[in-house]
């Protein structure tokens, strides 16, 4: 709970750092320190489960770990951004402040105990992101992306709010466990309740970019500055999958038979659409966008068979997904800055051409992250996939598993494309320069991916 307060405050503070000099050198280190403070304050509640604000926010060790994961991802992204906002139109103070606000929203979503808090968290998370998506004002695609994201996003939050209202109408309470009062009731009296569940699911599926509510993903991911694409792909997804978990498992577990069908449809569609469409993409960010759709499918798979382990499984999956995605997009940030196309950073797969010659370290980071995203040992992605598979099979959905497996094999094709490009020898062998902090972040992400791959028990032992 404390990081919510800390980061709201430091977010405001960050705005003041840019007051005199918009591109002050102190903003980035200050933000990093703020996030570290937030991370530390998170552990103030360690081993002290309970709830805050009249039972609106829940706290326990598992939630603290998920919160730490979110803050850590933000920290990695902030460190990756060193040297990124140096052109004259940039307003780094605002960006970093908005990132912190967004993290606050994500933290609320991961720990809400009250449907209004869910809405509040989602809005704090999203509104900051709408702005960040369009932060590069000179980029037409960025403007388009921001507008699309905003229009469709606000529409879907509207649907979510409608759902909340319907559930409130049916149960008379905003509490997450309100649904239990309707437990044994007959169907006619539950109609509003069911419609409410469906609407809330739609709202959240939109945010996690689960098919068939994924249409914004590719354009927005492509248009947004790469750093914020990574933000969207990692932090938003982590926050939303855990709010879905809370909602479905803690709140509506009695209606499992009802909502699992919706989740199954979303899983199947996400897997098929995400993986098949990614095959024909040339833009690396679009590939990551479609990969994020398919990963949404994998994450949702865990919800189809709920056990005591599901939470840990999801946390592991999110952690390995976050590590791999940030390092993949981090490599893109570094490499594409040196290679322009039509005056803008070249973000097509061909930008990685010859990377193994130009900077072997980065090429290895890219290779490991791609292996992890596709779920090949010895990376953490493999265990993530394995854990969600065990959940799906516990629900008895063997066909989902087989579908997921076939799609994983297809996914290798596009995950290995940047790797294959990095093997390709091209005439141009100018070395790629990497900043110190970027190097540290990328190498430590890769290291963590391998450590979690070799000893997944380390992470699971935390829960």
């Amino acid at each position: 709970m404390y990081p919510i307060i800390v980061l709201s405050f430091t977010g405001l503070l960050t705005l003041f750092f840019g007051l005199n000099n918009p591109r002050s050198k102190t903003i980035l280190p200050a933000t990093a320190i703020f996030l570290v403070i937030g991370l530390i304050s998170n552990f103030a509640d360690w081993n002290a489960p309970g709830s805050y604000f009249n039972n609106m926010i829940d706290v326990n060790n598992s939630i603290i770990i998920v919160g730490s994961l979110i803050i850590l991802s933000a920290l990695f992204l902030v460190l990756l951004s060193s040297g990124l906002f140096e052109d004259e139109n940039a307003h780094p103070a605002e960006y970093y402040a908005l990132m912190q606000f967004s993290v606050v929203g994500a933290l609320i979503m991961a720990s809400f105990n009250n449907l209004l808090m869910l809405f509040l968290g989602l809005e704090i998370l999203s509104i900051a992101l709408y702005v960040l998506t369009g932060s590069d004002k000179t980029n037409l695609r960025g403007n388009e992306a921001a507008l699309k994201y905003f229009l469709m996003g606000s529409f879907s939050t509207g649907i979510l709010l409608f759902g909340v209202a319907l559930v409130y109408g049916a149960t008379g309470s905003f509490d997450i466990s309100a649904g239990t009062v309707l437990g044994g009731a007959a169907l006619p009296s539950k109609i509003f309740f069911y419609v409410g569940i469906v609407f809330m699911l739609i709202g959240l599926l939109f945010k996690i970019s689960g098919a068939p509510f994924h249409f914004w993903t590719a354009d927005v991911y492509q248009g947004a500055p790469t750093l914020f694409t990574a933000f969207m792909a990692t932090i938003v997804k982590t926050a939303v999958i855990f709010s879905l978990y809370r909602l479905m498992v803690a709140g509506f577990s009695l209606e499992y038979v009802f909502w699992v069908k919706i989740i199954l449809v979303a899983v199947a569609l996400s897997l098929v659409i995400g993986n098949i469409t990614a095959v024909v993409q040339d833009n690396f960010k679009r590939i990551i966008a479609y990969s994020s759709i398919s990963h949404a499918g994998f994450m949702l798979m865990a919800l189809t068979g709920i056990t005591a382990r599901t939470f840990t499984n999801l946390a592991f999956y999110s952690a390995s997904y976050v590590l791999a995605t940030i390092s993949a997009l981090g490599v893109l940030i570094v490499v594409s800055r040196n290679s322009l196309k039509d005056g803008r950073p070249n973000e097509n797969v061909e930008v990685f051409n010859g990377l193994f010659k130009r900077n072997p370290g980065l090429a290895v980071v890219l290779f490991i992250s791609m292996l992890s995203l596709s779920g090949i040992p010895p990376t953490s992605g493999f265990w993530g996939k394995f854990f969600v598979f065990t959940d799906a099979i516990r629900g008895g959905y063997l066909w989902v598993l087989v579908l997921a497996v076939v799609m994983s094999a297809i996914s290798l094709y596009y995950y290995l494309r940047p790797v294959v490009a990095s093997f390709r020898s091209v005439g141009d062998e100018t070395p790629v320069e990497v900043g110190t902090w970027q190097k540290i972040v990328l190498y430590s992400l890769t290291f963590l991916t391998l450590v979690l791959g070799a000893a997944p028990g380390l992470f699971r032992g935390l829960f």
Partner: protein
């Protein structure tokens, strides 16, 4: 603990060599690690003869899932581990003097592969097995791409996707079994299938079989093989044919047979038919090849087919034969591909059209090549004969007509391999072969041990059969 050290040493030294840039240091480390591994393995055999359980190493890998990092050996594992240690050592020796860029990294990748293979052959936990089964492919993929010829990325991509699809099906089968056993220890998993519906059992069988059939590969899943074998750099090809292909056969014996008994009784006949088809098909295609590496690739494919067929007959002689042949083929395949590499380095050509008359100019090479080649043909007094004889007998006992067809493969093998020998070593010299020199110490260090092993285990097969007979106790034979 010993098993774990045997696995850990190549892994650590491999990772070290990936960082290291000095060629000299890399060569020293490679030789040292190979020798230490060999010594460790010999010590392991002596421990094994007293108390096999002492070689178990277990660590609670993922405790809430009851997935253990459980390594251990029985007769089959021990034999395969030994094969992995010796063959990787020979491949390392062969590679360290080849003229590749960044040789240290190349050697590092080979060592990492060796570690993964030892993991595969000693894993006693289903997910650990899967982990290494997949992991072994990654360094080979990197090797092929970084040092391979033109157009290799497309070929290796095909291989990667192909094999991973198979492995993922195996993962599904493991997850299903895991759900029933609530642990992934192979000994525990083996108790599950008895209580399963036949339909589910059949699904498990196909999931597991396709994984191993693609990895080996067996007919008709061999689509990735010819290109991948012929276009990869030779050390990667040696690893693929000498060791990685054995993972498939090993998997059939270690995983498929115990975990899917109903599937075996119902479908093994079908698989044997296909394997025999692959045997003949591979042999016939090998006869028509002019590219040396492709020829050996198809010959390797044919041999693997016979091994799978014999293993699946589940008769003692079939299993012993195929285990014996895995070892024998490991040596002869590595030897043949190495000779192909030597010929290519000396003459600049891999085409039979360009070659000839090398025997007079390179007699040492000619003699060693002949020994390796005859081992592959299966001439008596070479180790190829023992394995082939046992396997063919098993197939013949299984079904006479099938045995007769399979036996014709020996003639076909003689045709394509002797043709290979004749076209390269005999006949008039060509512009490519006129000025070649005989092989030196660097090559002899690799080829002579291979030749010695081929002859010794051919004359005294009992030294290996003895080991593999432990298998009869550990493998539940289903009739």
């Amino acid at each position: 603990m010993l098993t774990f050290i045997l696995f850990l040493l190549p892994l650590i030294s491999g990772v070290f060599l990936l960082w290291n840039k000095s060629t000299g240091l890399a060569k020293t480390v490679t030789v040292l690690v190979s020798l230490v591994q060999l010594a460790l393995f010999i010590y392991m055999v002596s421990v094994f003869r007293q108390d096999a359980a002492a070689l178990d190493y277990s660590w609670n890998w993922i405790s809430d899932f009851r997935v253990g990092f459980h390594l251990g050996v029985d007769g089959l594992s021990l034999l395969m581990t030994g094969l992995a240690v010796v063959i990787s050592g020979l491949i390392l020796l062969a590679t360290k003097d080849l003229n590749y860029d960044n040789i240290s990294r190349f050697l590092g990748l080979i060592l990492v592969t060796e570690a993964a293979l030892i993991g595969v052959f000693t894993a006693k936990d289903a997910f650990l097995f899967y982990f290494f089964f997949e992991m072994a492919l990654v360094p080979v993929y990197l090797m092929a791409n970084l040092w391979g010829g033109r157009g290799i990325s497309r070929i290796t991509l095909k291989m990667f996707i192909y094999t991973v699809l198979g492995s993922l099906l195996m993962l599904v089968a493991f997850v299903v079994l895991y759900l029933f056993a609530q642990t992934s220890d192979l000994a525990e998993l083996a108790k599950v299938p008895a209580g399963l519906r036949p339909g589910l059992n059949h699904l498990l069988f196909w999931g597991l079989l396709i994984a191993f059939a693609i990895k080996s590969p067996l007919f008709p899943f061999h689509g990735w093989l010819p290109d991948a074998y012929s276009k990869s750099p030779t050390p990667a090809t040696m690893l693929l044919s000498g060791l990685l292909s054995k993972m498939g056969i090993y998997g059939i014996l270690r995983i498929l047979v115990p975990l899917s008994p109903a599937g075996i009784t119902d479908f093994s006949g079908l698989v044997i038919y296909f394997a025999i088809v692959g045997l003949i098909y591979g042999s016939v295609i090998a006869i028509q090849q002019f590219h040396i590496k492709r020829l050996i690739a198809y010959s390797s494919f044919a041999h693997i087919g016979l091994m799978a067929a014999a293993a699946l007959t589940l008769s003692p002689s079939g299993i012993q034969g195929s285990v014996f042949q895995m070892v024998a083929h490991g040596f002869s395949a590595v030897g043949l591909f190495y000779v192909a590499k030597i010929i290519h380095d000396k003459t600049g050509s891999r085409s039979l059209v360009d070659l000839g008359g090398m025997a007079l100019r390179a007699p040492r090479l000619a003699v060693l090549f002949l020994i390796v080649l005859l081992g592959s043909v299966g001439l008596p007094l070479t180790n190829g004969f023992v394995g082939e004889f046992l396997m063919l007998r098993a197939v013949f006992d299984y079904q006479h007509i099938l045995g007769i067809i399979a036996i014709s493969s020996i003639i076909l093998a003689a045709v394509y391999l002797l043709r290979l020998y004749q076209k390269t070593m005999f006949g008039p010299a060509t512009p490519f072969t006129e000025n070649i020199r005989d092989i030196g110490l660097n090559e002899l260090v690799v080829l002579v041990p291979i030749a010695i092993v081929i002859i010794i285990t051919g004359v005294f097969p009992n030294c290996l059969l003895d080991l593999s007979s432990y298998l009869a106790d550990t493998l539940p034979l289903i009739k």
